[in-house]
Symmetry: C2
């Protein structure tokens, strides 16, 4: 069987099963608290320590995760830091350190390399994170990976959601996917990091947040949500896929209300221009890096309630309460895209 | 300027300078102890904690670090763990956890993927390390990276060597380079992990350690050397390059005695067959993953004394004490190979 036929989620499941014997959860004792399967791994270096050390790693491959025709090296560096920091935030943690691997062709211009690390540097500063190590290698295409290290006195896992609780998300959904759709049409770089206003068919102030969410997403700080959240993760592969993951870990179901989805003006205008469905983008578009969490409260400042936790199954309902057919689409490596 | 003209060491230096402001060493306090520039970064999660947390990351790119024509997926998985564990050992630490990133084409066979993780699993077991996270992605070529996490009550850095001390190495030098040379000639896989004895022109028991050092190196435990070592690192890019790094960090020089270099019987026989200089392989061959350390003692069980720390300059001398001309060759990404 080829990996393309197995699918990424299946491959991760295989590894989780395979290495879970070696990754028992041991609460209280020094050692591993949480292994494969959440946004970050959690260790407690010393017995009795209140603080946990969180570890997460993510990679970005040229031609798969990014396209230099419409992504500047600066944006790439910024995004690499953000996506790793987002996983630490998604556990309720504070990011502290980053290790970074950089592989690229020898023909890459040193200026591009510098601009990449300018972007890394700006993001590090934003999140108060220190770069402490890494590796540089040659390769045909640019391949990046980073490992973020953070800390938390209390961690918020994916497995804590209970029936009757409310589902919340931060910010807007589908912006990153709409931004990607715009950039795929443009096929040229926009120097968004230098406030260069491009000549587009849509007003820049409306469309800028959408494009920025794709090119230079900011990870969302969990600080004001941790006191409410019973389960939390970041939305990286699309709302429905990620709600499905949270529900699976919590052994519950979910009802998502389409009319509650937070859609930005930019998403709606971009969707109109590109003849895309804003609701589809919000349900299935990946890389929003917004926080998804559950809570017993239905009104939480800074977040939008988009549905409820049910006993089982993931249902999407319209304004009339009737179920809408959907497939939990989203980006999956090795998946046959339909 | 292209990266190929800048050279890897220069690129690392640039980053070290750039991010060093953000990586101050703060001994005693909680936080960062050691940033970019040694085998691993060191943090102390809690104030007053005696134990340090060590972090290191390394990547392996198909066509650059390995060739699947003569490396099995099992060997690749094993080696990825070993090279990361080696960096933890090289700080005097104990490896504990690993995060792993795996990118490959969707056309890869699931069986190959499984064999890769068999190799990872065997190495994890050998080093008592737990896999706690990672990321899977698609890519044109196989790109791997891993981050190892370890601990140490006392760390041994590269910067502690003093004039008059002795230079020691573990095991044999040049084996990995000779093994690579043999495999480049063979251009076929050897199932060394299954004790399959191939039909070679050299006796298998003599040549096996040489080939194994290239395909499936074991990281060297520092336990018996830490009480002697004033500075330590692992030899990944070649003895002379790495001695140069240790000396630079310690602001000293070195005299390497050619007649003291520990050459294996396999290295000598392979060099004869392939018309290579065993001394050149020992001085400049990369990926030996042996430990290099300095100590005030000249006889240390389990290690070989190969020279002395001097005031400045790296000199290689023959049996008659006369200097031998050499260039500090070794593997450097983006370097113009001569």
């Amino acid at each position: 069987m080829k990996l393309a036929d197995a699918g990424e989620l299946h491959l991760v499941e295989l590894l989780k099963k395979r290495f879970s014997e070696e990754s028992p959860e041991r609460r209280g004792a020094a050692g591993l608290v949480l292994g494969i399967g959440d946004d970050a791994a959690v260790i407690r270096p010393n017995r009795g320590m209140r603080s946990h050390v969180l570890l997460t790693t993510d990679m970005m491959v040229e031609g798969v995760h990014f396209d230099l025709r419409w992504t500047t090296p600066f944006q790439l560096g910024y995004k690499l830091v953000s996506v790793n920091v987002s996983d630490i935030y998604a556990m309720g943690g504070t990011p502290e350190y980053l290790l970074l691997n950089f592989a690229c062709p020898g023909s890459l211009d040193l200026q591009q390399y510098d601009r990449f690390f300018d972007g890394v540097g700006q993001a590090l500063q934003k999140y108060s994170v220190k770069l402490i190590g890494g590796d540089i290698s040659s390769s045909d295409k640019i391949v990046l990976s980073a490992t973020a290290v953070g800390s938390a006195s209390r961690i918020i896992r994916r497995c804590g959601a209970k029936q009757g609780e409310f589902i919340h998300v931060t910010g807007h959904l589908g912006n990153a996917a709409a931004g990607l759709a715009i950039m795929k049409n443009l096929r040229k770089q926009i120097q968004i990091e230098r406030d260069a206003v491009p000549n587009l068919q849509l007003p820049w102030d409306v469309i800028e947040p959408v494009i920025r969410r794709h090119l230079m997403p900011d990870a969302v700080r969990p600080d004001t949500f941790v006191k409410y959240a019973t389960a939390m993760m970041d939305i990286s592969d699309g709302l429905l896929i990620d709600v499905g993951r949270l529900c699976k870990e919590s052994s519950v179901g979910a009802r998502i209300r389409v009319d509650r989805l937070p859609l930005s003006q930019g998403l709606i205008e971009a969707s109109g221009l590109l003849k895309l469905s804003p609701v589809d983008l919000a349900l299935s578009g990946g890389e929003d890096y917004e926080l998804l969490f559950t809570a017993s409260e239905d009104v939480i400042p800074g977040a939008t309630c988009i549905g409820e936790i049910t006993r089982s199954g993931i249902r999407v309902v319209g304004p009339d309460g009737k179920q809408i057919k959907h497939h939990p689409k989203g980006y999956e490596h090795f998946a046959v895209q339909d």
